[in-house]
């Protein structure tokens, strides 16, 4: 089994790219791969707890919780997150908060890296 590290960047909450990242992470974890997810830029907003799921919006909270139950490690960029006003106490439980080198360290151990950039 391999290690997949994904970086999820700006503008992804409420977008198809975000849904993509979470579904791919879930499918990889289901197959027994080790999966690491790094949020930066606007994607960091997705660590906010108490997201309300409305059918016109894709929200990530329940998927993120499920992913972590499957062993996926998820970390948000602390600077990006606090610059958007979200505090650690308001975050979904068990999501890690760290600096950008967390992502690089998970790149170091990865067999495959998928950096989802764009806007």
């Amino acid at each position: 089994m391999g290690v997949l590290t994904m970086g999820v960047f700006p503008g992804l909450v409420g977008s198809g790219c975000y849904d993509f990242a979470l579904k791919l992470a879930g499918a990889a974890a289901d197959k027994g791969h080790v999966v690491n997810l790094w949020f930066s830029g606007n994607a960091t907003v997705s660590v906010k707890a108490h997201q309300k799921h409305l059918k016109d919006y894709s929200t990530g909270e329940k998927y993120l919780v499920e992913l972590m139950e499957k062993g996926v490690e998820i970390c948000t960029c602390e600077a990006c997150t606090v610059s958007r006003g979200i505090q650690k106490t308001e975050s979904i439980a068990k999501i890690q908060w760290n600096a950008m080198h967390w992502y690089l360290s998970k790149i170091h151990s990865a067999d495959r890296v998928l950096q989802i950039g764009g806007e």
Partner: protein, 136 residues
Amino acid sequence: MADVKCAFIVQRPQYKGETSRLAMTHALSYQTVEVLLEDGDTVTPSLCFVGEGILGISKGQNAIAPYGINSSELHAKNCLLVDMDVYVCKEDMERFGITEDQLPDAEDMGAEKKINVVPFAQIEKIMEEAKHVLFF
């Protein structure tokens, strides 16, 4: 003990979105990643600007006055300052009419490294030699 080479390819212009700026800040963190790795393990990014990505590092930027944020030029200089290998695509320089003297250096900050202007073929080679390729 292993070094992992990564190609950071910046293909989008700066400022409108954050991605191309975050490419530089993430690359910079190679300096501190060792705290999270085993002894002797390292990550070495090569930072390459291609296409419209080359536009955002020109000299003479001032983003502090109008918008209160650091310029992308400053980030590029910081990359040189920490001895990162920084490449800019020669063909794109020509295509956009940008000359080498418009690229920043960080001599004033004490940097030894300079930006390398190279053909796209060399940037492809960097991607080939890297274990991972990240587009921004």
